[in-house]
């Protein structure tokens, strides 16, 4: 299991568009990927799960990947966070 914490720095938080990018990019990974915010967990492969968390600017989130390709999952997340301007 691999974990990584991020602090969201985008004005609108993780809203529909970046959520779409994240979920779309993770769909084909084999690992279970979870996102945690304020003690609530959601499946990061679920667009509604992610949006339902309503993650705002400044939020601290934790992403957990569990499976054979978990390292690539975290690397992909790093890339997306940077590219979408969601977190440093």
């Amino acid at each position: 299991m691999t974990e990584k914490n991020y602090t969201i720095t985008s004005e609108q938080g993780i809203h529909a568009r970046p959520a779409t990018v994240i979920v779309g990019a993770l769909t084909n990974f084999k690992s279970d990927v979870k996102i945690e915010y304020r003690g609530k967990q959601a499946n990061l492969k679920s667009i509604m799960g992610v949006m339902a968390l309503g993650i705002p600017n400044g939020a601290s989130i934790k992403i957990t990947a569990d499976g054979e390709d978990e390292a690539q999952v975290i690397k992909t997340m790093d890339d997306i966070m940077k590219k979408e301007g969601l977190a440093e």
Binding site: H15, A16, R17, T20, G24, A42, I47, M48, A52, G54
Partner: protein, 573 residues
């Protein structure tokens, strides 16, 4: 007789065309018992694939017609269809409860829609519409029914609908659809955003266009004022045809002024601000080049509900507005209820003269719990932007002093609790009662600013009830009596180094603007869609010339003379 319907101006512009009512047939889902659930799940998966293929098609078409970013919504819809948290529970329900897929879909979708609709963020609430849209499409396929879509239209029309789903708006054929109006929705709903990007006029949130308008009626959609007129008279058609042509020509010119300052030919600068009612209106203010919010009418927070809004609800609304304005001034008017605006849950006795009765600051000073709640919410929000507070309907200096004392008490309490409050919140009053306009020099020593509310100032000065059509001829903004009162207020303020704004209809009026500019008004607050027009007008005027023009209007005999003088010497000059 024409039918006039008011709503929310969602996308600017004017169109005149025949009504086309978009009636979505109700998809009727019945609960059925299924024996072979494995087969039912296979059928469900097949229809999911069919729906996905269809969405891919719409996405591609939207991307081509409206651009990549507008197609993103359909990428989101496709993801909902691939969402394990959405699809798996549906399959589980079919298997465990032995029910048909349509029914399982309906139940699971309702759960998610409920979840999103209950979020305290407007943006998230509107995502419920996405789930509804996808569910409808999939249900249509499961039932083997063709879902009605607006791409079948082949003549120029105005679309009349309960609401437009993202797929409806994306499929609107711009060649034929000249505008639309809906029963529900707000400025940030999908349909409104799409309408603005398609640059077709739209009025949403009318509550009753579906009930009042029939197919093929001629309809005018005025996306500037948020008005819909069905069965217009010849006169109305001519008026709006003119308005439409003027709007389209000038739009091109005005757009150039969006990020400009408002400066006369001789270098005098004024501030153009907007009047708003809800946080959702801020977007329109920024899009139209507003330099500030000159009047935030907080009563909308209190209306259309069954109890008072909490401090937290108010705080969130104020904070949103202040943050969205990014440091530009925001003048918030404390609760102005009474008169024509009632709150049924306060259960106040009916009055014979509500405009002269127990309203606005009078009511707030008496119902202090309610007033203090609002002031605390405002004070807490002050840390997030450039907040200014003003009290409505101030008639005497004591009222202002009392209201100010309450504000300072609440401020001190919050600060003692360690809550961050901005240090220098400017405190002003509405000038809408003649006694206050006359005594402006006395008030000017104690307030930080004045905002002249012309709608009420005119009705009180000429003693003419705004709601009574038989005396509506006395509603005379250009009456020299009004102009003299305005001059008195501006001079008094300037003598004490204070500023004066105006937040009535008059501030955005092309006849009044030259006079107000001449009298020295500092801030003009109007509906957002009037700002660029006003900026354009002011940029062609000279302050020095307007000062002598204004001087002359003050000694004229009546409103008509003033209007004619401005029309022939300034507007056509």
């Amino acid at each position: 007789m024409s039918i006039m319907i008011e709503g929310i101006a969602a996308s600017p512009g004017i169109c005149i065309a025949k009504a086309f009512k978009l009636q979505h047939q109700e998809l009727h889902v019945e609960k059925k018992s299924i024996i072979n659930t494995a087969e039912e799940i296979r059928r469900f998966e097949m229809m999911m694939d069919k729906t996905k293929t269809e969405l891919e098609g719409i996405k591609a078409e939207t991307s081509q017609k409206l651009g990549e970013d507008k197609a993103e919504i359909f990428a989101a819809h496709l993801l909902i269809l691939s969402d394990p948290e959405f699809i798996q529970p549906i399959k589980d329900k079919v298997t465990n409860d032995s029910v048909n897929a349509e029914f399982a879909l309906k139940e699971v979708a309702a759960m998610f829609i409920g979840l999103f609709e209950n979020m305290d963020n407007e943006y998230m609430r509107e995502r419920a519409a996405d789930i509804r849209d996808v569910t409808k499409r999939l249900t249509g396929h499961l039932l083997g029914q063709q879902v009605a879509s607006p791409n079948m239209i082949s003549e120029e029309v105005v679309i009349i609908a309960e609401d437009l789903t993202p797929s409806d708006t994306a499929q609107l054929n711009r060649q034929y659809v000249k505008g639309f109006t809906t029963n529900i929705g707000g400025r940030t709903s999908h349909s409104a955003i799409m309408a603005r990007s398609m640059e077709i006029p739209a009025v949403v949130g009318t509550k009753n266009v579906m009930a009042q308008i029939e197919n093929d009626m001629l309809v005018i959609v005025d996306g500037l004022e948020g008005k819909v007129i069905a069965n217009p008279t010849e006169k109305e058609i001519a008026l709006y045809a003119k308005k439409k042509a003027a709007f389209e020509n000038q739009k091109i010119e005005w757009a150039k002024l969006k990020n400009e300052k408002t400066i006369t030919t001789d270098g005098h600068q004024v501030e153009l601000a907007a009047n708003i009612g809800t946080p959702a209106d801020v977007q329109g203010v920024l899009e139209n080049g507003g330099e500030a919010i000159g009047l935030y009418r907080t009563e909308f927070l209190y209306m259309g509900r069954s109890q008072l809004p909490t401090e937290e609800e108010q705080f969130k609304a104020y904070k949103t507005v202040l943050e969205s304005m990014e440091g530009k001034p925001v003048v918030v008017r404390t609760l102005d209820i009474g008169g024509d605006k009632e709150l049924h849950y306060l259960d106040l006795p009916k009055e014979l003269n509500p405009f002269l009765g127990f309203r606005a600051i009078r009511l707030c000073l008496s119902m202090q719990d309610m007033f203090r709640t609002q002031l605390r919410a405002l004070l807490r929000s002050s840390a997030y932007g450039n907040l200014k507070i003003m009290f409505p309907m101030i008639a005497t200096l004591d009222e202002f002093r009392d209201a100010k004392a309450i504000l300072l008490e609440e401020k001190e309490q919050l600060q003692q609790m360690g809550v961050q409050v901005a240090e220098n919140i400017e405190l002003g009053i509405m000038v809408e009662i003649p006694s206050t306009a006359v005594m402006a020099d006395v008030f000017a020593k104690e307030v930080d600013f004045f905002s002249i509310g012309t709608n009420d100032l005119i009705q009180y000065t000429l003693a003419a009830d705004r709601m009574n059509e038989r005396v509506s001829y006395l509603y005379q903004p250009y009456n020299p009596a009004i102009l003299r009162l305005i001059k008195n207020v501006i001079d008094a303020a300037h003598n004490h180094g204070k500023w004066v704004g105006m937040c009535g209809e008059m501030a955005g009026d092309e006849v009044a603007i030259p006079i107000l500019l001449g009298l020295g008004l500092d801030e003009f607050s109007m509906s957002a869609t009037s700002i660029l027009k006003a900026r354009s007008q002011i940029s062609t005027l000279s302050r020095a010339d307007m000062m002598s023009i204004a001087e002359k209007t003050l000694v004229m005999k009546n409103a008509e003379e003033v209007k004619q003088f401005i029309t022939s010497n300034v507007l056509r000059g």
